[in-house]
């Protein structure tokens, strides 16, 4: 343990590089650690029970060796990596795991994890994929189940007040992340895309109040920094699959570009909408954890807008917020990226590129592998894109 604890960006980097350290400490103090995959498990319920939610990630620098026994190679390498790490004992400190029906592989992984990794407590939320009234009803019922499961695990009930308090603290976190993102509007941005991933990933490895403290430190440090990212010729927004490692960002930011905004889940997605504190808090939570989060695993067409037959109107309904992001953060172009085999994001690509084209925002699609080695050809594509938009 360092004599003087680090703060702000230095602390974020440390936690990013050695994620389990804090939760292992907390575990020796008797706290329960529950891992979660993706951003659909309800963090507020865990916080209300004084459980530490700990997001599960893969490790793109670790070759996948054990997961092949359970998952074919032609599926999401991120989820394969998560399972691989579980099989290798890297998540043995978890007291529980919450998974949700994020995608096909995401749906199976809960069961596989139970079978092969055997974390003591587990629960799977069969989150609906559409936004109809009936989906919202089902979502609420699923959250009732989740609440009961967690209460059984913790041995006590979640009171309405405790849940409301937890929502307030988590909303505070969301507001802090948005405040941090405001600092990316300047030219150059005060924090890079790579640093942002480090901060968000660190935040998702700590209890919510410690995460809030870290965010406050980072914001105050970054506001006045003189050693921030250099000004480059192009400002970019990155959309797509999970980026839980800084490698791709570093490749992009090593070229003549700053990444000033993102629409990814180790990024803005969990934080840009607050949970409404409703009379029955589960109503606000159900809405947030299905409707607010803009991951393409949720099918937004034909749902709350009646644009079934009008392609462009449908695209506007699904992606209009991206045009606002690009405008507010003054992005010159969008990197549309997905990890190989991610159908969820892959199938959005034609629509999203058509939409961006229609609103005059240039874009390029990159498919990557969740490995470090395959970045060089992507560098050529990004550089080529920058050469085109700089003409």
């Amino acid at each position: 343990m360092a004599a003087e604890a680090s703060k702000g960006l230095a602390k974020a980097r440390e936690v990013y590089q050695d994620r389990p350290r804090r939760v292992l400490e907390l575990r020796t103090e008797g706290k329960k650690i529950v891992g979660y995959l993706c951003i659909y498990p309800v963090l507020e319920m865990m916080t209300a029970l004084d459980i530490v939610p700990y997001r599960i990630f893969g490790d793109m620098r670790e070759p996948i060796t054990k997961a092949d026994t359970y998952l074919p190679t032609v599926v999401c390498p991120f989820l394969r990596s998560c399972l691989d790490l579980g099989l290798k004992g890297r998540y043995d400190f978890l007291d529980g795991i919450i998974t949700s029906h994020i995608c096909d592989v995401g749906a199976s992984i809960g069961g596989l994890w139970n079978y092969a990794v055997q974390t003591p407590f587990s629960h799977h939320i069969d989150t609906p994929h559409t936004l109809h009234e009936t989906s919202l009803k089902q979502q609420k019922a699923l959250l009732v189940n989740l609440k009961e499961a967690l209460e059984g695990f913790a041995g006590r009930k979640i009171t309405t007040e405790a849940l409301r308090d937890a929502i307030r603290v988590h909303n505070e976190q969301r507001a802090l992340v948005r405040e941090l993102y405001e600092l990316k509007k300047s030219d150059p941005p005060l924090i890079s895309g790579a640093e942002t991933i480090q901060v968000i990933k660190a935040n998702e490895s700590l209890p919510v109040k410690e995460g809030n403290q870290l965010l406050r430190e980072v914001i105050s440090e970054v506001k006045d920094r003189k050693d921030g990212p250099q000004k480059k010729s192009a400002r970019l927004l990155v959309w797509g699959s999970i980026l839980d490692d800084t490698a791709l960002m570093e490749m992009i930011e090593g070229l003549d570009a700053n990444v000033v905004m993102d629409d990814t889940c180790v990024g803005s997605r969990p934080y840009f909408d607050d949970v409404e504190i409703t009379d029955d808090p589960l109503d606000g939570l159900a809405y947030h954890y299905l409707v607010d989060i803009k991951c393409p695993r949720t099918f937004r067409t034909n749902s709350y807008t009646d644009v079934r037959k009008d392609y462009m109107k449908d695209l506007e309904g699904r992606f209009g917020y991206l045009r606002d992001f690009a405008g507010d953060w003054k992005a010159d172009g969008v990197i549309v990226q997905s990890v190989r085999y991610c159908d969820t994001h892959g199938y959005e690509v034609p629509g999203i590129r058509d939409y961006l084209d229609s609103v005059g925002v240039p874009s390029i699609y990159l498919e990557h592998d969740y490995t470090e080695g395959a970045l060089a050809p992507l560098r050529t594509r990004v550089q080529g894109f920058l050469e085109i938009i700089s003409q």
Partner: protein
């Protein structure tokens, strides 16, 4: 009369190409050599060859532009730009009305959407051997024939057979099967050319296919593939006399543009130290 010279270096995955032009865009030297494991580090050796051919010293070159996969391994280059932009420029200098440039090299294939000599969009395939020169190399090797003979052999075909375009390994298996069933070599080779052409055509159709369509890269030297591509795309495909040089040429031309722009604006051009040394990257 004082001449100024510009060099373009295209360090590809299979071949290294260098061209030296004067201010009237006349070619003073060009070298085309195998990249190999050594040349990835030794672009300087190939440059020395080009300089010897031209009778110039490196200091006499006003601008050295590097491109290609290995562009970061050219320490004496003044700047590096992707082969996407360079090919577009180079192809447009041969065919000013080019709208679609297709480059199929040893290990990758690219489609470039061009208008008025400017790159507008691109598609690339560099993960899979099918649809690249490697496809033809592997199968030629298995058939015991030279890659350069494939084109002429295919022209003798009277009844070409179908060969899979999905995977080089599967295609190889099919070739063996066809031959063992008594299919004529030229018919198999013609089928191979159809396979690579349909693969490449499928990729470039993601951009708009409109004339002029130009085909470059080592594979463009194969008349069988050129014809098969024309059939797949349904239009004429133009091939420059030297299909390997468009990248290096484009690089040199852009170098010239940047130099003249700087001279007009009274700015100094940023150049490198011009030490002809190997890439220290690997030490």
């Amino acid at each position: 009369m004082i001449h100024i010279y510009f060099a373009g270096i295209d360090l590809g995955s299979t071949m290294t190409k260098i061209i030296i032009l004067d201010e009237d865009e006349q070619v003073r030297a060009y070298v085309v050599n195998h990249t190999g494991a050594e040349h990835r580090r030794l672009a300087n050796k190939v440059m020395e060859e080009a300089l010897a051919q031209s009778g110039l010293t490196i200091e006499e070159i006003s601008f050295i532009m590097a491109t290609g996969y290995g562009r970061i391994n050219v320490p004496f280059a003044d700047r590096q730009i992707t082969e996407l932009t360079c090919h577009a420029r180079g192809v447009a200098s041969f065919f000013p009305n080019v709208r679609l440039a297709i480059d199929v090299g040893g290990q990758d294939a690219k489609g470039l959407k061009i208008k008025d000599g400017k790159l507008l969009d691109f598609v690339m395939s560099d993960k899979c051997a099918a649809g690249t020169g490697r496809f033809l190399e592997v199968i030629a090797d298995a058939l015991g024939i030279k890659v350069e003979d494939l084109g002429s052999i295919s022209q003798r075909s009277k009844r070409k057979v179908s060969v899979s375009s999905t995977c080089t390994v599967f295609a190889q298996q099919e070739v063996v099967k066809h031959l063992s069933e008594g299919v004529m070599l030229e018919d198999v080779v013609a089928g191979l050319h159809d396979a690579i052409a349909s693969r490449v055509a499928g990729m470039v159709r993601r951009l708009k296919v409109e004339p002029d369509v130009v085909f470059t890269g080592g594979v463009a030297k194969n008349i069988g593939v050129v014809k098969a591509l024309e059939e797949s795309l349904g239009c004429q495909v133009l091939v420059p006399e030297e299909p390997l040089l468009s990248g290096a040429l484009g690089a040199a031309l852009i170098g010239k543009e940047l130099t003249l722009q700087a001279l007009t604006n009274g700015e100094t051009i940023q150049t490198s130290e011009r030490h002809l040394e190997e890439a220290t990257f690997f030490k």
